[in-house]
């Protein structure tokens, strides 16, 4: 008799456990990270950023696992190709004649120090239509990020991933991100101080 009761009690306890531990709603997650991990799927939906970026000429960045678009640069540089003016060697151009218009007179290099950088750190004095790396290999103006990434490796890594810089158009694929020189002037890369565009006078009054 007692054995019977014991078995029945055990049975009830087991039943209770199974009932109480069973999740009533299988779509409930403990954290949002669990939810994201459980539902991760490459987005192949209808929505695309293409229509918002139609007017921008693009080139593709392919670097290790990353593949995305950046705005094309050369067509945006007013006086490209540089060789249209730079037809003579730099030494010759330096002999400035009276009445001749001086070019680039307004460019002041404010990027690292003079010990680290001068014009020819990036510009190739023998081939004006291309940039050059620290080891004198040629870099296309469209892919100037390769130049920047020589020193700014941490920023480069973040930019490739999307933690640095800015995605254009929308969140939907295909990804089009600004390249370094779309936000930073390479000759003066730091963001300037300025006044905020807005001041909330109502809040100010309320808090007086």
């Amino acid at each position: 008799m007692t054995a019977k009761i014991k078995v029945i009690t055990q049975f009830i306890v087991v039943c209770l456990f199974t009932i109480s531990c069973k999740h009533s709603d299988e779509h409930k997650y403990h954290t949002v990270i669990d939810k994201i991990e459980a539902n991760t799927v490459e987005y192949k939906g209808e929505i695309s950023s293409d229509i918002y970026n139609e007017t921008i000429k693009k080139v593709e960045v392919i670097d290790s696992d990353f593949k995305f678009l950046i705005p094309e640069r050369k067509s945006q540089i007013v006086s490209y190709k540089c060789s249209e003016c730079h037809s003579q060697p730099l030494e010759k151009l330096k002999e400035h004649k009276v009445g001749e218009k001086a070019a680039h007179w307004n460019i002041k290099l404010n990027h690292a120090g003079p010990e680290t950088m001068n014009c020819t750190t990036c510009h190739n004095k023998n081939d004006f239509d291309h940039l050059q790396s620290l080891t004198n290999s040629s870099i296309d103006f469209n892919f100037s990020y390769k130049l920047c990434s020589q020193c700014h490796q941490k920023e480069f890594k973040d930019w490739k991933g999307g933690a640095h810089g800015k995605q254009l158009g929308g969140w939907a694929p295909p990804r089009l991100s600004n390249t370094c020189v779309n936000c930073h002037n390479p000759h003066n890369p730091k963001f300037e101080k300025r006044w905020p565009v807005r001041f909330n006078t109502t809040v100010e009054k309320e808090r007086e």
């Binding site: 949002v32 973040d158 999307g162």
Partner: protein
């Protein structure tokens, strides 16, 4: 009419049976009951006690009387008749969460038409539903924000916020270096050259929690979490009790103390029912991740306006999205994580 496919919400005071939020048992997204009823059928075709009946009749009396007097009047113009007919139907429409797509369209047509009658301009209101395999999230780089407030301006313009009361969804807090996130000492209404030396800047807005306390406390279920993670408000169902405002631990919600005024030429005519359509006095509103933009694939206005790239928006479920890279590779954190609200708004540093 059974308890499960009704089209309104009632307070469950002292009633023994605790029903699920809606027929499908989901507390997010819409749900389509078998036999949808539109317009005043939702309200009229029910059995109720004498007392409730009288309450409802009294509530509807004013608008009813107005509608009857103008629609039966011989001198009333066609336009005013149409207007009052629309007001009548709008008054008795159901909760957006429970509307079928057809009902949504009908309501939107009425809203568009009534704006046209009142202002003589066409607007475009969308009722686009959440996309499959999309969960929206946001990341904010506190090392990059310079405090320019371009985001605030863009938000005000995009979302048709009231211009005179200067209510804003976004706050930018200027914090002293070395003091941590000290909101008590932070200044969210600075006006001097930025970035100020020895300070950093961080923005707050609605964090679209995955476990939103504001949704929990709403007595009329006028606010809920959509399938793509956006916490939205049905402005026509909100009763303005501000429980949600009190429940939000992040100061993410705003109340309309007056009818919002936007100069006609500045009205953003690209609208969403749950987003930036013109609100009325006495209802709640807040950031909706610019639902009218994000559901079309665009970034919210604040992300687009930011000149520093501090703001990243994207699909958390897509392993190739930039926001996922940030979550996987940067040292991210959220505000008041211990509350268990699970905000979908992460902060990180370079």
């Amino acid at each position: 009419m059974s308890e499960t496919n009704k089209k309104w919400y009632s307070l469950n005071l002292n009633r023994s049976k605790k029903s699920e939020s809606c027929g499908c048992g989901s507390n997010s997204g819409g749900c389509n009951s078998d036999k949808p009823k539109d317009g005043f059928d939702q309200i009229m075709d029910i059995s109720m006690s004498r007392r409730t009946a009288f309450t409802k009749i009294t509530a509807g009396l004013l608008i009813g009387a107005g509608a009857v007097s103008s629609s039966c009047s011989i001198i009333g113009s066609d336009e005013s008749k149409e207007k009052s007919a629309m007001e009548w139907e709008e008054y008795f429409k159901g909760n957006y969460k429970l509307m079928t797509d057809e009902e949504k369209d009908k309501s939107i047509n009425r809203l568009v038409r009534s704006y046209e009658l009142n202002h003589g301009k066409k607007i475009n209101i969308s009722s686009k539903n959440a996309e499959e395999n999309v969960l929206f999230g946001y990341a904010f780089n506190i090392s990059k924000c310079q405090g320019y407030m371009d985001c605030v301006n863009a938000c005000v313009e995009e979302n048709n916020q009231d211009r005179t009361s200067e209510m804003q969804y976004i706050r930018i807090h200027e914090m002293k270096d070395g003091k941590g996130f000290n909101f008590e000492e932070a200044d969210d209404n600075y006006y001097h050259e930025v970035p100020a030396d020895g300070h950093f800047y961080m923005g707050t807005q609605c964090f679209h929690c995955d476990n939103p306390p504001c949704v929990e406390v709403c007595p009329v279920q006028a606010t809920w979490k959509e399938k793509d993670g956006i916490v939205v408000i049905d402005y026509d169902w909100c009763i303005g009790c501000r429980y949600c405002m009190a429940a939000c631990p992040y100061d993410g919600r705003r109340f309309n103390w007056k009818t919002p005024e936007v100069p006609e030429e500045e009205v953003n005519k690209n609208q969403h029912y749950l987003g930036n359509r013109l609100r009325k006095k006495g209802v709640m509103e807040k950031c909706t991740f610019c639902i009218q933009r994000s559901r079309e694939g665009k970034n919210p206005a604040c992300v687009e306006a930011c000149p520093t790239g501090s703001r990243t928006f994207g699909n958390l479920l897509d392993p190739n999205s930039t926001i996922r890279w940030i979550l996987d590779n940067k040292k991210v954190f959220r505000l008041k994580e211990d509350l268990g609200t699970e905000p979908k708004f992460w902060y990180y540093m370079d």
